[in-house]
């Protein structure tokens, strides 16, 4: 904690102190404050990394997006990245488990796609372009 305190200036100290009070932590709980902030910031960064926008909504329909250059960079990078690694949440894992463990009943469109792929005379659709303006 001493290193953390040494790195902060007076303004930042004041902001942290305000935040500590808002979160209901005692003055001697700076480590807990740091942990809570890291958890919240980590969640925010994960959403941005997945290309999601974060918004605060009120019942009357007012929406305030969370805008920050760092998050925008993360979000844009996520949109462009061809991800080689997908980390699933537990909820996503449970749905995946149901997919892998369930019986297989391909929908008609998938059956048709497989049948099309097996046809030697398969042809792409002819395309009609609108006349150039």
């Amino acid at each position: 904690m001493s290193r953390f305190q040494a790195l902060t200036n007076a303004v930042l100290d004041a902001e942290l102190e305000q935040l500590r009070a808002r979160l209901g932590l005692e003055p001697n709980q700076k480590a807990e404050l740091l942990r809570e902030m890291a958890a919240i910031a980590g969640w925010v960064a994960r959403q941005a990394e997945q290309g999601r926008r974060i918004e605060a909504r009120r019942a009357d329909g007012e929406v305030e997006p969370l805008a920050h250059p760092v998050l925008e960079r993360l979000r844009t990078a996520a949109e462009q990245l061809v991800s080689a690694r997908l980390a699933l949440s537990d909820a996503e894992v449970q749905r995946l488990a149901a997919v892998l463990d369930g019986g297989f009943d391909p929908p008609p469109a998938l059956r048709a796609a497989l049948a099309n792929l097996a046809r030697a005379d398969r042809r792409p659709p002819p395309l009609h372009w609108p006349p150039a303006a």
Partner: protein, 177 residues
């Protein structure tokens, strides 16, 4: 044949600028990143649908494929996973699929999806490596409906929505249980 599929290379550069799609990220990826990912970084390969019916080729659509490793974000034990393959599970990611706005509604999206699935199944059957999943991230509700139509199952409720298809039942000589 008026439409042909070609892996993206430098010779296609002049065609990319004309591509139109309401999803800016799909246009941006094609015009700024796809070639780099295919030739320099070797992260993904992009296939172009080129319409040559009028003589000069026109870019009608594209899709990009990459390998993917599906992993768990947490290490908490889930009983549902006891009978399943161990994570990470390898797969092929349909990273992008887009059709030019001017030729939408003519069956090209379906054709490109079939091509992407066909290339994936071919690799799964005869390639030197094994993998289990066909994965995509549906960019919006319309894309999710399109993928669901072909049997992909959404893993979440938000967008972009991760969707998967188990390839094992589609491969010959492999039981589905």
């Amino acid at each position: 044949m008026a439409l042909r599929l070609e892996p993206l290379n430098r010779s296609h550069r002049p065609l990319l600028a004309d591509f139109q799609n309401p999803q800016a990220s799909l246009v941006d990826y094609l015009q700024r990143y796809a070639l780099r990912h295919a030739e320099k970084d070797l992260l993904a390969r992009t296939y172009l649908a080129l319409d040559t019916a009028m003589g000069t080729p026109r870019l009608a659509g594209y899709f990009s494929l990459a390998t993917v490793s599906v992993e768990r974000a947490s290490v908490v034990r889930l009983p549902e996973l006891d009978r399943l393959p161990r994570f990470p599970i390898p797969g092929i990611l349909l990273a992008r699929l887009a059709v030019d706005t001017r030729v939408r509604g003519q069956g090209l999206g379906r054709y490109l999806f079939e091509e992407a699935l066909g290339l994936t199944l071919q690799l799964a059957q005869t390639g030197p490596v094994a993998f289990r999943l066909f994965v995509t991230d549906a960019i919006d509700a319309e894309a999710a409906r399109f993928c669901q139509h072909f049997g992909l199952v959404p893993l979440g409720d938000d967008f972009p929505c991760r969707m998967v298809l188990d390839l094992r039942p589609l491969l010959p000589n492999r039981s589905s249980t």
